[in-house]
């Protein structure tokens, strides 16, 4: 079967799908929630462009060499992050090319159809182009003041990002090909790499941070440290494949001579040729890596089969005992919680159905425990890191700020044990005989409790390291859970308004991520604002003796009020959620 024929059939499918998706989007935009999602995206784009042009456009332009190093080095850091995430992922198939993007229908009719594997890999690459264009345009807004030619910048950034996507997929294929032992070895190596990177970053930040820094200083210094890390010789040596495109993006004229990796000197046109030429080269590398990876997986499977054949009988009986013991423990724990909730809650609040959902979420937690521990362990260490600095009045503030930032920014992606996990089971969830309120409480219970445990643990350790007043400790212990509830309630409400599958990619996801980030930035700004407002109000209106206590009480009440309102919002979103209409066709 000819390549042209295969390409033609894939193009035909892509056109049909695009037409259908466009029709679905048009219809959805006419509904209330769809209009809200559209409005949020439009608002984000307007804010982003206006902010980019007015605020970022006025900053001092970066010199072309720094821009080039920052672009290429930053992308290497991203590729490293991606690789480490995959190495530590328990879902091995996640690393296989197309595993996330392809729908079950794609897997059956295309995977089972007379198409070359390389054609499917090529299709995977082509489908990332629209999202890459969107990302390039977003980056263009930020960087447009640094170069003379915006068109050249846009093309350079686009080529860099596209090369990065290919490199990322090559890395994924290589990771997918690893055996269990190789994976364990890579985990150890990745830990060493991460430690080295953090030591480098820490030392750079320590050198440049002013005495008695405030959070803004620390954030600016950390960003500068990351920039320094991206431009370091170690990272730059890994960035060679991305350099031609980075040169295209940063060069000032068409014929300027630029050093490439310190080894070659090529002019601007040659950079263009190299940047464009890198794409087919990496494409071929990806096809080879994918084919090699599939063969390796098969080989490892055979080795594993030999091993399993020898130990199967013992393992199975032992595993059944362990599993049933684990299941009993989880069930008993949930039963106890249920009894406790019945005692605490008013009689007209029914939590029976909710506990079934909690049980299911707990099983999920037990299954992904190592991932969750890892995801929460790092924020705990980061949040506690200010405590090792010299004693200062702001030390405590940094720690609390770290906990709040981690709760808002890091906890939601780390703990996706909520509605986001069940996109394809929404119909089933809707059919369960429990109230919307119970469903939402049940869905949020586990991630929220895990986040609260992280917050309480970090605050308590901080209190032990830097002794503080008991009233401050208890205030924080009571206030912080509100942030956890608010974060997960809003995250899930937005998910129900604009649902997407975990690991989805494309323009929609790029914009969605930015909208979510914008919302989080608003929340981050709202918390200190609310503290300042209530404190100011109490100090002006109340006598000095009660002002402080009243302010703390006011903050507690206001934060919890916001959290409960957000829960009601989530419940409303769930009540209105229609699996047939709201979930996009695959």
């Amino acid at each position: 079967m000819s390549w042209l024929g295969q390409l033609e059939s894939l193009t035909y499918l892509a056109i049909l799908k695009a037409n259908s998706k466009w029709t679905w989007l048009r219809r959805r935009f006419q509904t209330g929630r769809g209009a809200m999602a559209t409005l949020a995206v439009v608002a984000f784009v307007v804010l982003y462009v206006v902010g980019g042009v007015t605020v970022l456009g006025r900053r001092e332009p970066t010199d072309p060499e720094s821009l080039r190093r920052w672009l290429s080095g930053g992308m290497v850091l991203y590729a490293l992050f991606h690789a480490i995430k995959l190495i530590w992922s328990s879902d091995f198939d996640q690393a296989v090319v197309g595993s996330h993007r392809d729908s079950p229908a794609d897997r059956l009719w295309l995977g089972g159809g007379p198409l070359h594997r390389s054609m499917l890999v090529g299709r995977e690459f082509i489908t990332v182009v629209p999202a890459t264009i969107a990302k390039s345009l977003l980056l263009l807004v930020v960087l447009q003041g640094d170069v003379a030619s915006r068109l050249q910048l846009a093309i350079g950034v686009f080529l860099s990002l596209l090369t990065l996507e290919l490199v990322r997929r090559v890395i994924s294929s290589l990771i997918a090909s690893m055996s269990a032992i190789q994976r364990t070895t890579m985990k150890a190596i990745s830990l060493a790499i991460v430690t080295a990177l953090f030591v480098h970053l820490g030392s750079v930040v320590y050198q440049i941070v002013p005495n008695d820094p405030d959070p803004v200083d620390l954030t600016v210094c950390t960003l500068a440290g990351i920039g320094d890390l991206a431009q370091s010789s170690g990272i730059q040596s890994l960035a060679t494949p991305l350099m031609p495109a980075a040169h295209v993006a940063s060069q000032q004229t068409w014929t300027i001579a630029v050093p490439l990796s310190g080894l070659f000197v090529v002019d601007g046109w040659m950079c263009w040729l190299l940047a464009i030429g890198m794409l087919p080269i990496w494409m071929m590398v990806l096809v080879s890596a994918d084919s090699w990876s599939l063969n390796q997986r098969c080989k490892h499977e055979r080795v594993e089969l030999d091993h399993l054949t020898r130990t199967l009988a013992n393992n199975v009986s032992q595993r059944i005992e362990t599993d049933s013991l684990g299941a009993d423990l989880v069930s008993r724990f949930v039963d106890r919680c249920h009894g406790l909730m019945k005692l605490i809650l008013p009689k007209d609040v029914h939590v029976d159905g909710c506990m079934g959902i909690v049980l299911r979420q707990l099983h999920c937690l037990v299954r992904y425990r190592s991932h969750v521990m890892m995801s929460l362990g790092i924020p705990t260490l980061l949040s506690l890191s200010p405590l090792v600095m010299e004693q200062s009045a702001k030390q405590w503030l940094f720690c609390v700020g770290g906990i709040l930032l981690s709760s808002i920014l890091l906890a939601p992606p780390a703990l996706q044990i909520d509605f986001r996990r069940d996109l394809r089971r929404m119909g089933l969830l809707k059919s369960l005989p429990i109230t919307s309120w119970s469903m939402c409480i049940g869905m949020l219970s586990v991630p929220v409790i895990m986040t609260i445990l992280f917050q309480w643990l970090t605050v308590t350790v901080a209190c032990i390291v830097v002794p503080t007043a008991f009233s401050r400790w208890i205030s924080l212990m009571l206030a912080m859970p509100a942030v956890a509830v608010l974060t997960f309630a809003i995250e899930n409400a937005l998910f129900l308004i604009f649902p997407h599958s975990i690991g989805a990619q494309g323009i929609g996801m790029v914009l969605r991520t930015k909208v979510m980030f914008l919302w989080k930035a608003v929340v981050i700004a709202a918390f200190p604002t609310s503290i300042a407002l209530i404190a100011a109000l109490c100090s002006t209106c109340l006598p000095e003796t009660v002002a402080q206590s009243a302010a703390v009480f006011g903050i507690l009440v206001s934060w919890w009020a916001i959290a409960i309102v957000s829960l009601f919002c989530l419940t409303g979103c769930w009540q209105r959620f229609d699996p047939v209409r709201d979930i996009a066709p695959e």
């Binding site: 035909y12 049909l16 799908k17 995977g111 594997r117």
Partner: protein, 274 residues
């Protein structure tokens, strides 16, 4: 013609299929039966080239999926249980897409016949997501027939179909096999497939327990009145009985050269040698 030798498939830490061997000549309808988790679907997916076997050989009309994956995929059509369809494509667009994918010239007439046969004409412009379970099943089967495969693999094709639909599908299977094609059909509706199958392959715990013609299987369990009784008798048989069952089936002429037993005992070997 399907030839499977010592097929094994491992999923993480579960051996789904172990040492499965059988041959199916052209023009035969073979029923693949067994309890849930027996390894039927995995076997079918390996034959279809959707899954790579961990070990063992597969040959479809002399082609090895590892060596000539495209050739095998052109020769085989696989319809899984509850087949996934492109939610955003209509019935007609599905058939057009399959025709393009398999480079079928002048497919419209054949497509119209299939749509008519499976009563899908009124749904021609409906998107797949709006179809009922049975309609989706019929569309997937129509797509499979459209490619005119030499080997047709149907995994639980009767689930969700109405009685006329079942009758129509079974009739089409018989006709298709009579044209010299091989059909492997997996189902729990034993009474239904019993009428169309020339042979039966019974799997349990990832292994082939019995294989042979329906008559030979009935002879093995003379007290069983229906095919369902035979199924229960075969799947609940003790290990001791199984040894005997193997021998009874090996005597069947049609399968004499194809049966490979799992871990044959010395007695088994002697019986095969005879």
């Amino acid at each position: 013609m399907i030839e499977i030798t010592d097929l094994r498939k491992l999923y993480v830490d579960t051996l789904a299929v172990q040492d499965v061997s059988f041959q199916l000549p052209s023009g035969v309808v073979c029923g693949l039966v067994g309890p849930n988790g027996a390894g039927k679907t995995t076997t079918m997916r390996c034959v279809a080239g959707v899954l790579s076997p961990t070990s063992g050989q597969i040959s479809i009309h002399g082609m090895d999926p590892e060596v000539d994956p495209i050739g095998v995929k052109l020769a085989v059509a696989y319809v899984p249980d509850d087949p996934p369809l492109f939610d955003d494509l209509t019935v007609g667009q599905h058939l057009d897409f399959i025709a393009r994918l398999y480079r079928l010239a002048d497919h419209r007439k054949h497509a119209a016949e299939l749509l008519n046969r499976f009563e899908l004409i009124p749904k021609y412009d409906s998107v797949a997501s709006s179809l009922s379970r049975g309609m989706r099943q019929k569309l997937a089967v129509a797509c499979a027939y459209l490619t005119r495969p030499k080997v047709l693999l149907l995994d639980e094709p009767l689930t969700g179909l109405d009685p006329p639909g079942i009758r129509q599908l079974l009739a089409s299977i018989t006709e298709y096999a009579q044209k010299g094609n091989t059909v492997l059909i997996s189902s729990h509706l034993l009474a239904m497939i019993g009428d169309v199958c020339d042979r039966l392959l019974l799997m349990q715990d990832g292994e082939v327990r019995h294989q042979g013609t329906l008559a030979s299987l009935r002879n093995t369990y003379p007290n069983a009145e229906t095919l369902e009784d035979v199924f229960f008798a075969a799947t609940t048989a003790t290990a001791e009985d199984e040894t005997t069952d193997h021998h009874d089936l090996i005597d069947d002429e049609a399968w004499a050269d194809t049966v490979i037993m799992d871990e044959p005992s010395e007695v088994d070997r002697r019986m095969v040698a005879k």
